[in-house]
Each structure stands twice: as C-alpha cells, then as structure tokens.
Amino acid sequence: MSQRLFVKGNEAVAMAAIEAGCRYYFGYPITPQSDIPEYLSRELPKLNGEFIQAESEVGAINMLLGASATGVRAMTSSSSPGISLKQEGISYMAGSELPGVIVNISRSGPGLGGIDASQADYWQSVKGGGHGGYHIVVLAPASVQEMYDLTMLAFDLADIYRTPVMVLADSVVGQMKEALVPNPRPVTILPEKAWRVRGRREGTEQMIVKSLFLGDGELEAHNWKLHGKYDVMKENECRQELFMADDAQLVIAAFGSVARIAKTAILMARDAGMKVGLLRPITLFPFPTKAFQEVTLRCKKILDIELNNGQMVDDVRLSVARDAEVYFYGRPPGAGSLPVPEELFEQIKKHY
C-alpha cells in the first residue's frame, strides 16, 4: 500500500527530484520557493549529492549547465526575478541541447512586484524567455500531487528531448499543503547520454557541448533540428485535463492555481443548471492545441481565465475552431487580486 503524506507543494517538488534521481541542485534564495533549496540542502548530502547555494541565479543556472553537460540529473529553482536572470543560461542550454529542470514558483511583477500568486510569466516561459528563438517544455501543476508527478516527468522529458524543462507554478500551489502519494519513479526508456563530456579516453571521440555554430549552414541546420524536436513534442507530449467538458456549452480555459478556483465556480454553475466545463492545459509548451480544436468543434464558447492581463489567451485564440468565441477574464497579480469563485461565477453568467 502506498503511503499518503501531508506536504507542501514546494516540498513535493524537492521530493520528486530526489525520487527522479536528481542529486545536484543549484539555487539562490527567493520567496516563495525557498522551501525547495531548504529541503534539498538537508536531504542531498545524505544521498552523496551536491547542494550549492550559488552567488546568484546566473551562477546557479550555469552550474546546472555544467553538471548537466556531464550527464547527471540536475535542477535549479527560483521565482520570477531570478528566472529572468537565468534566461541567458536557459538559452545556452537550449542551444547546447542540454537537459535540466528549472522550477519557477512565480510571483507578481514587473520588477520586484510582490510575492503573490501570479501567472504573468506565461509568455516568458513558453515563448522562449531568452534570445534566439527556442522553446523549452513547460509543465503547469495545479496540485501538490501534480507538483510531484510533473517534476518527475520533467526529468524524463528533459532527458528524452535533450532540453531544459520548466515546472511553472505559483505560491498557491507551492505553499499549500495537500495529501500526496509519493509514487515511485516510473520506468521510462531513456536514451543513452552519448553526448556527455566525460574526459576523452584514447579511442573515444572528443565531446563538445556548445551552442556556437559558425560553419556555413551549420547554425541554420541546428535550428531546423531544434524546431523539428519542437514539432515532435507538439505531436506527442501535449497534456491537458478535461473536467465536465463533454456536454458543456461554455468551457473555461485555465491553468495552474486559477484552474482550481475555476473548478469551484464550474460546480456553482452546474448547481444553477448551467453546462460549464474546464479545459486545463498541463503542458503550456507544447500547447494542447488539438484539445482546444476538438472541444470547440462542439462547444463554441471559451472563457479564458488567468492571473494576469491575458497571455495564454493568445494561444487559446490560435487553437480554437474558427467559429468559436473566446472571452477573457483576468486580473493583474498582486496582493488582494486572487479572484474568488463567486467572481468567476459572475463571468460565467455573463458569457454563458
């Protein structure tokens, strides 16, 4: 019988990393994610792993780059301002095709902003936050259990596609305590990391981990290769949750923490006899375009709700059937701006 634990979302991330075989963590303190480095600074040494409190998020992401280049599973975590600092390194990792897990327990901005729940980093996460036109896989947990399961999945996807993977959540999911079944690491067939640097023994090939391609046509070919991988991800890795969507006349699109509030509002609507459902993207990149196409073949009204001024709604609009209408409701993040279910129910009534 599997155990059931009562833990914080951030701790679930740290536990999952250890279960996934991650023994190297590099980070810099920032609220609301510091439970992750605190947990790992205590647990990794017991497993002969390495925990480094880096000089900055820039230092941390580059330590991740170096560790990952040797083929080990490694991770960093931060929150929005720190994630901005990591973007150069993430771009280099994407260009060098290095796996690695980056957790963003995002907070409100711009600038120092605040520490409240926010989804204002959607664009930065899914559109390639650094330079050069790349993507990384972005997973959006909405519960403590998903914080655990998706962190473990993040390590597998990183290794399979040789790409950085981001787990994007906020303080609602990161700080709350819920029941967790700490599932054992799934058995996944992973490609051999033949590309890793290990010291060039006589008779073996020289290994170079780099993102510099100066030869005629080399960089173009490299970019086509990267974008070919993104196409495969779009085909195979989209994940979403459908909730009461089968007969829905209006489907709410929401990810992460706000999707939980939306679920309560949906139940209120159902009680009032309104057929309302939810389509919750779990992978933000690749975006579950097909799921939106399928839902809008039948249901012509989508209400997109976010903890920002409207970001994912762009991708929703690009994904739905042509004759579907997309409405948006969101509030810029900050203290006191987390919507209550009644507020969302009003929006449902307005557009139903």
């Binding site: 059931r4 000089e55 780059l65």
Partner: protein, 272 residues
Amino acid sequence: MPQVFKRPVSLKDVPTHFCPGCQHGTIHRLVAEAMDEFGVRERTIGVASVGCSVFLYGYFDVDVVEAPHGRAPAVATGVKRARPDSFVFTYQGDGDLAAIGTAEIIHAANRGEDITVIFVNNTTYGMTGGQMAPTTMVGQKTSTSPYGRDRAKDGSPIRMAELLAQLGGVAFSARVAVNTPKNLMDAKKQIMNAFRYQVEGKGFSFIEALSTCPTAWGVTPIQANERIGGELIEYFPLGVYKDTAQWKPRIAPPAPVEQPGARAFPEFMNEI
C-alpha cells in the same frame, strides 16, 4: 636522432586562428604541455569562455563545455561537483573574467572549487575589436576609450591575481608572462604548480598570464612583446601571490541513507 621538441598530445595538429604575434597560442601550448606531464588529458574537461579563446575545443584534444560570457567558473563548478574525478580547467580572457564574470570567478574561488583557472590578460577585448577592459592601462587608447582610459571616470586596471589571493578558498595564485624565454619557462613551472593543486585535490588554483594583442593594440608583434616587458609587467608584477593549501576537507555529511525499498521521509511530513 632523439626527438627533443614535439607537439603536446593534448594539442591538436591544426593551425590556429590567432593573429600573428598573439600569445594565446603560446599559452595554449604551455597548458597542453602541463596536461601531458600530469597525464590528465583523458580525464580533462575544459570550459571555454567567450573571447578569442572560444575555440578551445578546436585546439585542445579534450572534452569541452562552452560557457556563456563570464560564466565559465560556474559551469566548471557544476562539472567538477558532478564529476569530482575529472580534471577541470577554464580558460578566460580579461573581459570575460574581470568584467562580466567577476561574481562567478570570486565565488568559485572563494568556495575553493577544485578547478584551475587560466586567465589571459591582454588589457583589451580582443574578439570584439579592442574595446576597453577592466585591465586596460590608464591612458591606454582603445576603441571605446579613444582619449585613453581615464582613471577618474573608468577606474584603474584590476589586478586579479592579487585580488583572488585574498580569498580563503584560493590555494594558488600567480601571474606569469610569456614574453621572454625565462618568463616562458617560469610560466610553465607555475602552470604545473597550479595543476598540481587540483591533481592533489587541494582547492582552487589561478594563473594570470599577461598576453599580447597586437591587432587591438595597433602595434607590431615585436612592439607588443616589448609592451609586456615594459609597462605591463611594471603594473602587473609577475610572481606567486599565494601558494598555500588553505583547503579543508568538507564537513562530513550525514551517513547516506540507502533504502531503495522503504524510502525515508522527513519527520515533519506526517503520514495521513
């Protein structure tokens, strides 16, 4: 006839892209010789920086990770922590290490990472066309200090070998030059000393090598070499600034818990 001079096996048999009179190539060779002499080539992982030495992997016959500009010491930290049995060195210019990468170098050094840093100081940003660096001499004209470096506005050249020697984690710090046969022999000796610290696991070792950039300086190779022996060595004195292993074994972590079947969770995580 016995062979008395040959290419180090750690160096590839290819022509370099360095300008005539540039000493990056000479410094590459000394590093490769030291690698050969310690027999560490097969477990070496080099970390390349961004600057004229970005093609490290093209010249050294070792595995290489390319770091973003200035971040090589952080990348090397990740490599070494993950693979403590490897021999890890970074090779960085003065723009890379003493400007954009100051946080990374100071903290890798202060943590006493078991790596060796080869810092090539040519008082300018060679690769980008000879702009002012933190090591540019007061009065030196560069493409971004057309009236000469002004101490009042631009500060004074940074002496990295001395600065890093202050830090507890640094076991070895020296400044060398390759402008004369004597200095070259001494440079080789100090690179060997720096490598020895890492081979013995005794902490961070640092070599600052003064180097020419005739292209950006706008002088002939001979004049460039003379500048090293004159103005540069006067301001950046050669020598060993630290040669003492301040390295302490890390505090032993709690005994490893190896229970793949029954996983132990911290107590505060109450079962429900």
